[in-house]
């Protein structure tokens, strides 16, 4: 998952970004003003935008309005230091998905971020089940047939993203878009390495294979031939 943090207070932006990276395992981009925030939000695929309201160059509410007008469905979490309810209501009605007042609790921010990402993908269950594979969004643990599977962080992120896309075929480009932040060089073969790692840890001991490669299209995480088991 990839998150954009738009916050002009650099230290706060850094802390939020670090929290999201360490606590949720997300790839995080940071924009320090409204203009670059909107530019980044419109030109990259994000799974969540964390938006401060008082921003130089382009105010948060305006950014939100333009972002929604250009048709983006990505959940937006507002950070605000003003506790004035009318403007909160206006923001929520204007396309924001949630808000947190400063000073906030980092744990709460992470929980809300995860919940927003989850709901953004159309999932409400805290544990995703695909066949006998269980993925716990909250504490980022994976079980196959009831047994814990140890994954390296990047492997988990690939798995989580594939699971969030519900049996759909996910291209390598899409995976790269959503798993790496702006500053990373994106090489497709990195994904292949993680996929093969995941195959080894998840599928090698089972008769039912869950990770499928569709040559030329991408990858899918599903119980082949079954329907509706991806909840």
């Amino acid at each position: 998952m990839r998150v954009l943090v738009v916050e002009d207070e650099k230290r706060l932006a850094e802390n939020v970004a670090d929290g999201l990276r360490q606590g949720a395992g997300y790839a995080v981009d940071v924009a320090n003003d409204g203009e670059s925030g909107l530019f980044m939000a419109e030109n990259n695929e994000y799974d969540l935008v964390v938006l401060d309201l008082m921003l130089p160059k382009l105010a948060g509410p305006v950014l939100l309005e333009r972002y929604r007008k250009s048709g983006h469905e990505t959940p937006v979490l507002i950070l605000t230091a003003r506790d004035d309810k009318p403007s909160i209501i206006k923001l929520l009605n204007g396309g924001a998905d949630d808000y947190l007042s400063k000073p906030f609790d980092l744990g709460e921010l992470l929980a809300r971020a995860k919940a927003l990402v989850r709901r953004g993908k159309g999932k409400s269950q805290p544990v995703l089940t695909i066949g006998d594979l269980e993925i716990n969004w909250a504490d980022r643990t994976v079980k196959r047939a009831g047994k814990p599977v140890e994954l390296v962080p990047m492997e988990y992120r690939v798995l989580e993203y594939l699971a969030s896309r519900s049996r759909a075929v996910v291209s390598k480009t899409e995976l790269l878009e959503h798993l790496y932040d702006y500053n990373w060089e994106k090489f497709g073969n990195v994904i292949e390495v993680y996929i093969s790692g995941l195959r080894k840890k998840i599928d090698s001991n089972s008769r039912t294979k869950l990770i499928h490669t569709l040559r030329g299209h991408g990858y899918a995480l599903r119980v082949e031939g079954s329907a509706g088991t991806d909840q």
Partner: protein
């Protein structure tokens, strides 16, 4: 109980009208009395003349004058006395003892007396006349004195009637005028009451002030309406500014606290190495310093603004301006060197500028201005502070840099709190945008002026002018 303005005005009107009525009644009565007395006197003279007509010589040789009682026709009750030139009584009304000698001797033709408890008024008429003789010879000129008095009871009754009528009419008119005054005053004052009601309706929650249209058209009330409108609008603006400033300060404080809190929470989120903890704690300490600086800045701004409004400060003394500037420049040399900026203090040591201020306040201003200049200067450039005289009563302090300058669109708001020329850049230097606000509040408190001139990319000059007490100059 409160005094009613309406009551006061009505009472004032009624009292003045009462005085008018009393005066008018008195005038009427006095004039009527004078007129009636004049008529009375003429009547007396006529009656006295009729007495004179019935006086003739006596038949005998004595040459005395006698009064023909049979022909005398005067109203009953009138008193008559006729004397001849020798002072002997010719005739006197029966029931009368005669006028006092003083009356006859007096030169005044009229007199008043009481007869049998009835007021009388009379005249003394002296006539010289020729009384006809039977043989048609012209007789000698004979002088007689006629004293004639008549009761003034009827006259007095008449005057009393006039008085009663005038008083009654006055009182009736007074009542009517009072009613009219009460009505007029109530109606006249009603816009004032409505205005007061409109003013009372204004509160912190509701600033809309709608004075009655009638009050606006009244010459006496229009200035009050204007003054109220201006005051309320001013108060509303001040409240708005205050609210905005509180919200701004709260925003900055919450953000600073959010940074500190998130730093600490991030640190405790997962086990880390000693080195990481050390780094995290250092970060948290930096965040604390920022928070502290913000609180101190907000407090000194509030204090300076309060002084600017109340016009007083503790610790006011005579400060040598050059000395104060030189000290601040010396204090900032280290910062300037660390940024490879040359910092100069240009003053003519022969000049001495004494200002009345708190030394700490002035230092705050110079340090803030110099810090801004140094932070926005490129390495190798120069920041200068120059003290000179703008005019005999004011010292001019100019802080000049050839740094990054301020974009023209930010200049009008540069003195507003939490306003930063370019937020990202200023935040990088650790400023909160309070420095210039504090400077302006302090300079304002000392009746000085502060202006800023800047060209984007070329440099900035801040000009501070402060009133000086004396300027001792040996170079002049």
């Amino acid at each position: 109980m409160k005094n009613s303005l309406r009551k006061q005005i009505i009472v004032a009107v009624l009292v003045s009208q009462l005085l008018l009525a009393i005066g008018l009644t008195l005038a009427i009565v006095l004039y009527s009395r004078a007129q009636l007395l004049w008529d009375f006197k003429i009547m007396l003279a006529g009656r006295a003349d009729s007495v004179l007509a019935v006086i003739h010589d006596a038949e005998d040789e004595s040459k005395t004058l006698v009064l023909d009682r049979g022909r005398l026709s005067i109203p009953a009750g009138d008193l008559v006395e006729v004397w001849d030139e020798n002072g002997s009584l010719i005739w006197r009304s029966p029931n009368w003892t005669g006028a006092p000698a003083s009356v006859i001797a007096s030169s005044s033709p009229t007199f008043a007396l009481d007869h049998g408890h009835v007021p009388y008024r009379g005249i003394v008429m002296r006539r010289a006349t020729i009384f006809d003789e039977e043989d048609s010879r012209t007789g000698p000129l004979r002088k007689v004195t006629i004293v004639y008095a008549s009761s003034t009871r009827g006259l007095n009754r008449h005057i009393l009637k006039i008085g009663i009528f005038a008083t009654g009419a006055s009182l009736l008119l007074l009542c009517l005028a009072g009613l009219f005054a009460a009505y007029g005053v109530s109606k006249g004052l009603s816009p004032m009451q409505e205005l007061a009601k409109a003013a009372a309706d204004v509160s912190v929650r509701n600033w809309s002030f709608s004075p009655p249209q009638e009050a606006r058209t009244k010459r006496e009330l229009a200035p009050l309406v204007d003054a109220l409108e201006a005051t309320i609008a001013g108060l509303q603006r001040a409240f708005g500014r205050e609210r905005e400033s509180t919200a701004d300060t709260a925003h900055e404080l919450k953000t600073a606290v959010a940074i500190l809190k998130s730093s600490l929470q991030l640190l405790s989120y997962q086990p880390r190495s000693i080195d990481d903890y050390q780094k995290g704690l250092d970060h948290a300490l930096e965040d604390c310093d920022r928070l502290e600086a913000l609180v101190c800045g907000a407090l000194s701004l509030a204090r300076a603004q309060q002084w600017a409004e109340e016009g007083k400060s503790d610790d006011i003394q005579c400060v040598d301006l050059v000395n104060s500037c030189e000290q601040s420049v010396a204090n900032l040399q280290a910062l300037a060197q660390s940024r490879s900026v040359e910092l100069r203090c240009l003053t003519d040591n022969n000049d001495e500028y004494i200002v009345q201020a708190s030394p700490a306040d002035l230092k705050t201003v110079w340090v803030n201005l110099l810090q801004n200049a140094i932070q926005h200067s490129r390495p190798g450039s120069t920041v200068s502070l120059r003290v000179s005289a703008s005019d005999p009563d004011n010292a001019l302090i100019a802080v000049e840099d050839t740094g990054t300058g301020i974009p023209a669109e930010h200049l009008p708001y540069i003195f507003e709190r939490f306003r930063r020329g370019d937020p990202s850049r200023s935040r990088a230097t650790g400023g909160f945008g309070l420095g210039l606000s504090i400077c302006r509040a302090i300079i304002k408190a000392y009746d000085g002026r502060i202006e800023i001139e800047s060209t984007d990319g070329v440099g900035t000059r801040v000009l501070v002018s402060l009133p000086t007490m004396t300027r001792v100059s040996s170079s002049e």
